[in-house]
């Protein structure tokens, strides 16, 4: 549905995004994740045609944004970062206006407005001036504006910004209902949001794509080593050495005392090799040694940690290779290499990653 090919945008000497390539399938919900200033908004503005790229191409539903901008714009609903609202209009007037400039036919305007009002729960405020609405309602008017002409593609820049937790849940539910019938791209810096509603995540950092995958796979595969946490009533040095000697275990590190389990109790973190599940062996060993096993759990790396790991400055990781043997992406790397180099290949099955871009080309 959406193909972005090597998008680059420069503002004079400043490079906002560089060679951003990705592809979104029909009915997919995809999140742009990145710290502030990473280039999320710039990418979205290019996709929607409000900003031309310095180089690169965008195709939406088969139409090129530069060659047939009107065809693309007809098919896109866009919620910009700054809400495009006229404070002197009422909600209904505003939505009617948007419906008309989006090309909804005369007869279709009223049902389109009613539908959008209903979907975004704006019934209570539809007669009020936008200027007098609270931030949460304005955000919903912005969303209603993007939905009004029932576009196949929705581009939502921080759709849950400025909302309270209840409203955030409502909007997320709304976006989930859109999936399937609509292709949705949203940007966020709230990680659980991406995990909650998106099928795929693109992590952007300093204008480059650093990872593309499902939230689960990102979390699972980027984790260099599995970690198992154990809590013991009677920890002994011999037991710790025995654990460290288990096949697949890299090291065992004390993680503090576990006072809740009584005097002398401790928790250890067992780092394991990738793909090695040592829980069963560790449990048997500890029980046989009468270590007083009271807790044993696998530590999943949250998307948050993945995100931090990916977006922490390359200087911290310079020279060091990622635990799984792949080189860490570094924005400072000269770009004479193939552009795909910037995309971390996540595990053996990299089909959701860089190869997608090759298919698109």
């Amino acid at each position: 549905m959406i193909e972005a090919d090597q998008l680059t945008k420069r503002y004079g000497a400043l490079t906002a995004i560089e060679e951003v390539t990705f592809r979104v399938e029909d009915g997919e919900v995809l999140a742009f994740l990145g710290p502030n200033g990473a280039g999320k908004t710039t990418t979205m503005r290019i996709l929607t045609g409000s900003l031309p790229a310095t180089s690169g191409r965008v195709r939406v539903a088969g139409y090129d944004i530069d060659e047939s901008p009107l065809e693309v714009k007809r098919r896109i609903g866009y919620l910009p970062e700054t809400l495009p609202l006229y404070p002197e209009m009422t909600v209904t007037e505003y939505l009617r206006y948007v419906a008309r400039i989006k090309g909804v036919g005369r007869a279709g305007v009223r049902p389109a407005v009613d539908h959008a009002v209903e979907r975004c729960a704006l019934g209570q405020v539809r007669g009020r001036l936008i200027g007098n609405l609270s931030r949460g309602y304005r955000q919903r008017v912005g969303l209603a504006q993007a939905l009004i002409h029932d576009p196949p593609v929705l581009v939502l820049d921080e759709p849950t910004g400025g909302l309270d937790p209840k409203q955030i849940i409502e909007i997320r539910e709304l976006i989930k209902t859109l999936a399937g019938a609509h292709t949705v791209i949203l940007s966020t810096h709230i990680l659980p949001e991406a995990t909650a509603i998106c099928q795929r995540v693109i992590i952007i950092h300093k204008g480059r794509v650093v990872a593309v995958d499902t939230p689960e796979r990102l979390a699972a595969q980027l984790r260099g080593a599995e970690q198992v946490k154990v809590a013991l009533r009677r920890p002994t040095a011999a037991l710790r050495e025995a654990l460290a000697a288990l096949p697949g275990v890299l090291r065992v590190a004390p993680d503090g005392v576990a006072a809740a389990y009584g005097e002398g109790a401790a928790t250890w973190l067992i780092d394991c090799e990738r793909g090695q599940d040592v829980r069963e062996a560790a449990a048997r060993l500890i029980v046989n040694a009468d270590g007083g096993l009271v807790e044993l759990s696998a530590m999943a790396m949250s998307l948050e940690e993945v995100f931090l790991q990916l977006t922490t400055d390359a200087a911290d990781r310079a020279g060091a290779s990622a635990p799984d043997g792949h080189h860490a992406p570094s924005p400072e790397q000269p770009s004479e290499q193939a552009p795909d180099h910037d995309v971390i290949e996540l595990g053996e099955s990299g089909e959701a990653g860089p190869t997608d871009a090759e298919d698109a080309a």
């Binding site: 929607t48 409000s50 910009p80 090309g103």
Partner: protein, 256 residues
Amino acid sequence: MSKLIAVFSREWRSLIVSPVAAVSVAMFLLVSGYLFYSIVIVASTQTRMMLRMQHMMPQLNANEVILTPSLRNLSVILLLIVPILTMRLMAEEKKQKTSELLLTSPVTVTQIILGKYCAVLALYGVMLGLTLYMPLLLARFGAIAWWPVFSAYLGLFLVGAVFLSVGLLASSLTEHQMVAAITSFSLLLVMWLLGWAGASTADSQVGLLLTKLSILEHLNNFLLGLIDTKDVVYLLGLTAIGLFLTHRVMESQRWR
């Protein structure tokens, strides 16, 4: 076309609910009304003086003594009011980021510009229409010729059209309304004063050219009851240039 109408009606609504437009129109009417009043007073004193000298009578008529100067005054007040009316047209959209909605909608720049321009032109038409009380009052208390009134209003409408297109251009150049107002006021003033510069060097070719370029010069014929094709073409042409430049500015801004 329906998109143009949508842009037009939104702009029209914003114009009529905005206090800026209301105050501008009110001030326009207040100042023009006051000037009309003082011209009438002066004219009536003059008339009384002239009545004592019977032979002067045929030279007096309401069109020439009252209406033409009053309507000429309108064009001067326009210099001050038009920049205020037009300053928000594009600048405000950019400031409150609603331009992003327009840019990502299937609307062409031409539709945006024409919609907005027609809205402000319509407001100007209403404003100008409200000054029709001047000839109507005079007709109530005396005899006036209607043809010069018609041609004068046509001329004022066309001059206003030029001013508004210049104002729209200035508004498209910036996101600050005050900057837009100052820019368009300066541009209009220069266009206005070209005639003075021309008059001071009337015998040279340059002076002649400047006089021909002056808006005031072209308005004068209309005020005297003369509708000349070259005046009409000149004013419509300037309007078109203003709109065309606005179009170029908006297109180019996307690329920055």
